[in-house]
């Protein structure tokens, strides 16, 4: 029996979520394999939404697939590709089909993806999408019209604890809580001291925080992310640890690092849980969980 994510959130247990990337095309074999592999090992599975502005199978479709296969989906929704009308109508559809969790994202810019000439929408953004969900729950849409049958969602959002400067991000974080976010999955964190500082700010806001754990697959990837991806910082000691791994053992070391971090976060109750992103290596998520002793 699948336990609703909202119940898990409020259960006080250490929460573990992960994500599934839909295919670029209609071949669902690998995706289904990943769902089957992970659905009983984590509390919920995020379905990414044209992530990094790369066109893929839709997150709504992936959520249905996760449900069909006995998992608890979290619908990722970005504001890049749909205006408020399309977002609202997709929310109606999602709710009617038993999708109860939504992660509200602004979305990456169109130009970073594979449809560079496409029109980006951003009619709403994350804060406004959260607010729209709460409004629809009260029986009204954004046009001020009454709904015949309302929605009810467990709505979440994201936050980037390692952003530089971090202050504007924290103010937006607070706004997201005020707009109705019940949980947060963070961008990747590697430096737990920095993360502890972030949590000092987050705890009084009284929301659930799942620390983003992105699997490091090589020293090169770790260096690349630190140098090129905003809000991601891999400390030197971790890079050295992977670089120093025996030939062919870099991925294994990355799995151990992720497991160790999860363990520390849980043992020290730094936050409410973790969100594991194994970008392209979803098959190794069970190994990360094992390394964490979960």
């Amino acid at each position: 029996m699948v336990i609703p994510f909202k119940e898990i959130l409020n259960s006080g247990k250490f929460i573990v979520t992960s994500e599934i990337a839909p295919p670029k095309g209609t071949n669902l074999d690998n995706t289904i394999h990943h769902i089957d592999l992970l659905k009983d090992k984590v509390d919920a599975l995020n379905a990414t939404d044209n992530q990094s502005s790369v066109m893929r199978y839709p997150s709504l479709g992936l959520c249905l697939l996760i449900k069909e296969h006995g998992g608890e989906p979290i619908l990722q929704m970005t504001c890049r590709d749909r205006n408020r009308m399309a977002l609202e109508s997709d929310l109606l559809f999602a709710y009617s089909r038993g999708i109860e969790n939504v992660l509200c994202l602004t979305g990456d810019s169109m130009v970073v993806g594979d449809h560079k000439g496409a029109k980006q929408v951003f009619d709403l953004e994350s804060v406004q999408l959260l607010r729209a969900i709460r409004l629809m729950e009260s029986g009204e849409d954004l046009g001020g019209n009454e709904l015949d049958g309302v929605v009810e969602f467990c709505a979440g959002a994201i936050v980037t604890p390692e952003a530089h400067p971090v202050e504007p991000q924290l103010l937006k974080f607070k706004k997201k809580v005020a707009a109705g976010a019940e949980f947060f999955q963070t961008q990747a964190v590697y430096d737990l001291d920095n993360f502890r500082k972030f949590m000092e700010y987050a705890i009084p806001l009284n929301t659930k925080v799942l620390a983003g754990i992105v699997l490091l697959t090589s020293a090169r990837m770790a260096r690349f992310m630190t140098a090129n991806l905003p809000g991601i910082f891999v400390p030197d000691n971790l890079i050295d640890e992977i670089a120093g791994a025996e030939k062919g053992m870099a991925l294994q070391t990355g799995i151990e690092i992720a497991g160790r971090m999860i363990k520390t976060i849980q043992e020290e109750s730094i936050c409410d849980g973790v969100h594991i992103m194994a970008i392209g290596r979803e098959d190794r998520v069970p190994d990360i969980l094992a390394a964490a002793g979960l």
Partner: protein, 215 residues
Amino acid sequence: MISVTEYKPQEEVLEFLEKCQSVYIIGCGSCTTITHTGGKAEVLKMKESLAETGKEITGWMVIPTACDELAKDALKEAGDEIQSADCLLIMTCAFGVQNIAMFTGKPVFPALNTIFIGKEQTTPGLFSEVCRQCGDCVLAWTGGICPVVSCSKGLLNGPCGGTDEGKCEVDSDKDCAWTMIYNRLKDQGRLDLFDKEQPPKHYQSGTRPGKITIQ
């Protein structure tokens, strides 16, 4: 304020001129002169390069301000040369192109793309887009910096997660609008404005296309 333009690729210009044997060229003494895309020098250069492709150039002119009413008189003076051409190649911004199309009734082809209305900045020669005339101005809440234009996503409630060291995720040379807004409001001791939740924008406020009669 100037209308900022850039050249269309020459192949595109030649493609739409394909059926025109004779061409009259029109530049503008205002904005496209400043941007060096449609002043006298550029018009003469265009004349030369079109002549090289075998076109007959019936004449050329640089209208002092192609987008205003007086353009009509300037066009009238060159009436014969204009009327004898198959088409007009316009090196003004799109405002001028539309004005000239209306006044002459001839087929008009823009040689330029109009890319934004630019505000002159303190650095000489630097013009930047600061307003897109959205009809629902939010500058009161954002320290006088426009997020509709300056933020790549037009966000109204703070920065996205792609901002890094004050730069934007789409281009590390571009300042992140929301970092600038944060800094300005902080300097002014008005960070409480940042906390105000902005509702979705009203995208249909005012009529489009905009129209007004001033009494």
